[in-house]
């Protein structure tokens, strides 16, 4: 079963905004969309796109501030002509708290 870690209140992230979660394995951007959905994805996609928490959030997507890559936040898939997939992390909201899968903090350690 997946463990979840409380990373903050839903009100800590403005609508159509993002906040960073720092981990030993790298930064994760947590988004809140206009439709009230929350997503967690890696702040950087390889050396091609990012820092995504600085992008413009629209629909259920984010546009990379550097090279205008557009990523689907639910799947991480790059849209349009670009190809690639930014890593996404499981996240849920309960009682107004944002809970991030603890796998986001540890899985890359295990891979080493």
């Amino acid at each position: 079963m997946t463990d979840f870690i409380d990373i903050g209140s839903i009100t800590d992230i403005p609508v159509q905004g993002a906040r960073l979660v720092r981990t030993a394995q790298g930064d994760i951007a947590v988004f809140r969309t206009a439709s009230g959905n929350f997503y967690a994805v890696d702040e950087y996609f390889e050396d091609k796109a990012g820092p995504l928490s600085n992008g413009i959030q629209h629909g259920e997507m984010v546009t990379d501030p550097m090279r205008n890559w557009v990523f689907d936040l639910a799947t991480g898939e790059a849209q349009g002509a670009d190809e690639g997939r930014v890593t996404t992390y499981e996240l849920k909201v309960e009682d107004g708290r944002i809970l991030l899968s603890s796998a986001a903090l540890v899985n890359q350690v295990a891979a080493e």
Binding site: G8, P14, G17, R22, G36, Y44, H58
Partner: protein, 814 residues
């Protein structure tokens, strides 16, 4: 022998179960009904009409005292169940009575969630749950103020009901738009507009901090930005929780609700549960339709007949006093999902369908929900819509018909709406000219003058031609803002002003946007157009700005930022330089660079350090240089007559004066100036957006230069005699550009479109217009000359941008 059934809770679910049971076999059970409320079953959904005065309590009673008596139900209303002894199968009432049962049914419903903020226990803080709450709200009148926390269905019904009684109601909602679980942003905007029209104040994205009281009674709600909203009554409608206390106490399996199986049996086979208190297959329930299904299954189970409760697709068709809403299925955007959006700005109608694999998986409708059942049927049945895709959104009556008219936004404009600003020509005048025989663009230009000056309204004039002449007129090709709209930049700008549109969702609705929330191309453009059109009004949406303008620094390729303090006219002091050097030391700035705009750039600053370095620079009297802005950048100067033997005028002094007047302004793109003290042009005025060259007789003002992707020499706009005239003309030119150019066009691109002659007509040939432009610029400046660094370093504005939500790097990796 008749078995004994005890029911805990006389609500809508147990009421329906009881009806079904008695109908099927009136003699199967001897029924005792407990209810904590001192009354029997009434239709809770109808409390809103009671509140608004459309119905009385008597009209919403489902089961009267006579009904219970006729059906032989023993009522114990106003009594709670204290305990249940499952081993002996007895229920223990509050007064100690012990009642044996064969079957027990829980219908304990739900409890309203009360946010445990300071002051929640004050007198006058209530939920919206039962008749007592409703009666308290009904005691309010036009001398009272009420705050409702929660912009969901229940909160809005409470607000609308009290507003109908003349109460001054404010709704405070934590999310970005109302009813975010049922509606998308666009429909939420329409709902908000309708509620505001009813006199309700709506505050979204508002966080409540505490409830303030006086003598134990509520006095006001305080938001976390310090705002106090005075109120005589505070209604919390932020959600419900299944009431599981008793079930938990007696050891039944409980999660979010009381666990039940498909037969509505709890973990004890002699105990059933129905309604809002249950959890079935991970879901809990708030709407009435599934509760009635549960009731039917529970009745069958009690009669030893087999039936199965199945969760179905839920739709919400809502009527918040006069606002027609419908939402069903899943309407979040996502990969492989497509949207079909229909907007009818004139009627306030919004429809959105979400498609996946040629099936409708979600629908949101506002304003006209007549076809909602048809759409909902297709969601439930998973109908393949490939064949009717083109006309699907118009509903069943239009299958096979023609698509929507793209001219709707212009059609909706009133006759007196101004289309051509240069010549002051209204839509009605253009229609008159067309009706008098002008059937081409050139003919309209010649006879009405519309579109004959700067040309930015030509697209709209063409649409009026198309509307008036129909198919006889062929629309010219044009470039749209982005794929979200059929309108060009010029058309959008003019319609924002003509229709007085003041927010991005409003623009998208009224101008018939065909994506639900826009994209990264149109949102920054719309935001600029709103900021320019409505100075002094709260129209700026930071989330629609590019990152540099959002955090007031330039993002670099490694994700760090650069910081450039303003140096008016390129003049600095030893104290400023010391402060910059100290800051560079303190924040380990890797690179300190002198810029081409005569300032100092500190590169490689971490985002988290920005407010702190701004604070230090602010202490030395420096403010943001806005080196990141689509707005005024720098005024580069030479030393001028103060020091230079060739200088004809005080070019540095003039540069400082101009920059002092212009800093802080936003524009379609960046705007750079220079002032040179003589024709030797050491400040490089001839390649700036606006350059001034001082000569013995006065000041030459050059415009439209470029030295970037394109290289263009600035052209002479006018020569003026005095410094003040030079400043006024500069402000007027900047304002003309700000009001007219399309987003991301530098002045030279805009001038190429409208012509330098037209610019001269507006500024040089028409002194009155020149003064009016400068006046509008100065009016706007009083709102935008705010140092964004000080706001963030000293007042905590947008603090969320500069601190991580959570930091796990310091947690030991175990």
């Amino acid at each position: 022998m008749t078995q004994k059934l005890i029911i805990i809770g006389a609500g809508m679910a147990t009421g329906r179960a009881l009806e079904q049971l008695l109908e099927a076999d009136p003699n199967a059970y001897d029924v005792t009904l407990f209810n904590a409320e001192p009354r029997g079953n009434y239709n809770r959904i109808m409390l809103s009409p009671v509140l608004s005065g459309d119905k009385t309590y008597a009209e919403i009673v489902t089961h009267s005292a006579e009904w219970y008596e006729e059906n032989g139900v023993t009522c114990r209303f106003g009594e709670r169940v204290a305990n249940v002894d499952r081993a002996r199968k007895v229920v223990i009432a509050e007064n100690g009575d012990e009642l044996p049962y064969d079957k027990l049914m829980f219908g304990t419903g739900s409890n309203p969630f009360i946010i445990p903020m300071p002051g929640h226990d004050l007198d006058g803080v209530i939920a919206y749950r039962d008749l007592e709450d409703t009666e308290l709200m009904m005691s309010m009148d036009d001398s009272n103020k009420v705050v409702v926390i929660g912009g969901g269905l229940l909160g809005l019904e409470a607000a609308a009901g009290m507003a109908a009684r003349g109460v001054d109601v404010t709704v405070v909602h934590i999310m970005g738009h109302l009813m975010e679980r049922q509606l998308d942003e666009a429909a939420g905007y329409l709902l908000r507009k309708a509620l505001v029209d009813k006199g309700i104040t709506v505050r979204c994205q508002a966080n409540s901090k505490q409830i303030l009281g006086e003598n134990g009674k509520v006095r006001a709600l305080q938001l976390d930005d310090g705002t106090e909203l005075p109120c005589d009554l505070l209604v919390m409608a932020v959600g419900i929780r299944p009431n599981v206390k008793l079930a938990q106490d007696i050891g039944l399996a409980v999660g979010k609700g009381i666990h039940v199986d498909d037969q509505m049996l709890t973990s004890d086979p002699d105990i059933l549960a129905v309604g809002e208190c249950v959890e079935h297959d991970g879901a809990i329930f708030g709407l009435v339709a599934p509760l009635y299904d549960q009731a039917k299954v529970a009745a069958k189970t009690l009669l030893n007949e087999h039936d199965v409760f199945v969760q179905k697709e839920i739709s919400t068709k809502l009527k918040v006093t006069g606002c027609d809403l419908f939402s069903a299925g899943d309407f979040a955007e996502g990969e492989e999902r497509e949207d079909i959006v229909f907007r009818d700005p004139a009627r306030g109608v919004y429809r959105r369908l979400v498609l996946q694999d040629n099936k409708i998986i979600g629908a949101v409708m506002y304003g006209d929900t007549a076809d909602s059942n048809w759409f909902f049927g297709m969601i439930k049945d998973g109908t393949d819509i490939a064949d009717m895709r083109e006309t699907l959104i118009f509903g069943p009556a239009y299958q096979g018909g023609t698509p929507m008219d793209p001219l709707a936004a212009v059609a909706a404009l009133p006759d007196d709406a101004e289309i051509c600003g240069c010549n002051g020509i209204s839509k009605g005048q253009i229609v008159a000219a067309i009706n008098a025989g002008a059937d081409t663009l050139d003919a309209v230009k010649a006879t009405s003058k519309a579109g004959s000056s700067c040309g930015s309204c030509v697209g709209l004039v063409a649409q009026v031609l198309g509307l008036t002449l129909g198919d006889e007129f062929k629309m010219p090709e044009k470039e749209t803002v982005c794929k979200c709209t059929d309108l060009s930049h010029d058309e959008v700008r003019k319609l924002i002003v003509a229709k007085e549109l003041k927010s991005i969702p409003e623009v998208m609705q009224e101008l018939d946007w065909n994506s639900p929330g826009g994209c990264h191309v149109c949102r920054p453009a719309l935001n600029y157009y709103l900021v320019c059109a409505w100075p002094g009004e709260e129209v700026d949406d930071g989330k629609s700005r590019f990152i540099n303008e959002r955090v007031h620094a330039n993002i670099q390729k490694d994700g760090t930022y650069s910081v450039v303090p303003r140096m008016l006219g390129g003049i600095t002091t030893p104290d400023e330089l010391r402060a910059i050097a100290d800051a560079a030391d303190k924040f380990n700035v890797p690179t300190v660079k002198v810029t081409g705009g005569q300032r100092i750039d500190l590169l490689g600053i971490k985002k988290e350090d920005l407010p702190a370095i701004w604070y230090d620079l602010g202490e030395a009297g420096m403010m943001s240089g806005q080196a990141y802005a689509k707005g005024l950048r720098t005024v580069k100067t030479c030393v001028g007559s103060d020091h230079c033997r060739f200088g004809t005028q005080d070019s540095t002094g003039l540069g400082i004066k101009i920059e002092s007047e212009m800093w802080g302004a936003w524009s379609p793109h960046k705007f750079k100036l220079a002032v040179s003290g003589c024709p030797r042009n050491c400040a490089e005025s001839t390649c700036k957006d606006l350059g001034i060259i001082c000569v013995d007789s006065g000041y030459q003002i050059l415009v439209g230069g470029a030295a970037g992707l394109d290289l263009l020499e600035a052209e002479l706009l006018v020569t003026v005699a005095t410094e003040q005239e030079a400043i006024d003309v500069s402000c007027a030119f900047y304002q003309l550009y700000r009001e007219g150019a399309q987003y991301l066009h530098r002045p030279y691109k805009w001038i190429a479109k409208v012509g330098l002659d037209w610019v001269k007509e507006q500024i040089v040939d028409d002194p009155e217009n020149c003064a009016a432009l400068a006046e509008r610029f100065r009016y706007s400046q009083q709102f935008y000359q705010v140092d964004p660094w000080a706001e963030r370093a000293r007042k905590g504005v947008d603090a969320h941008e500069f601190t991580p939500l959570a930091d796990f790097t310091k947690v030991a990796a175990e």
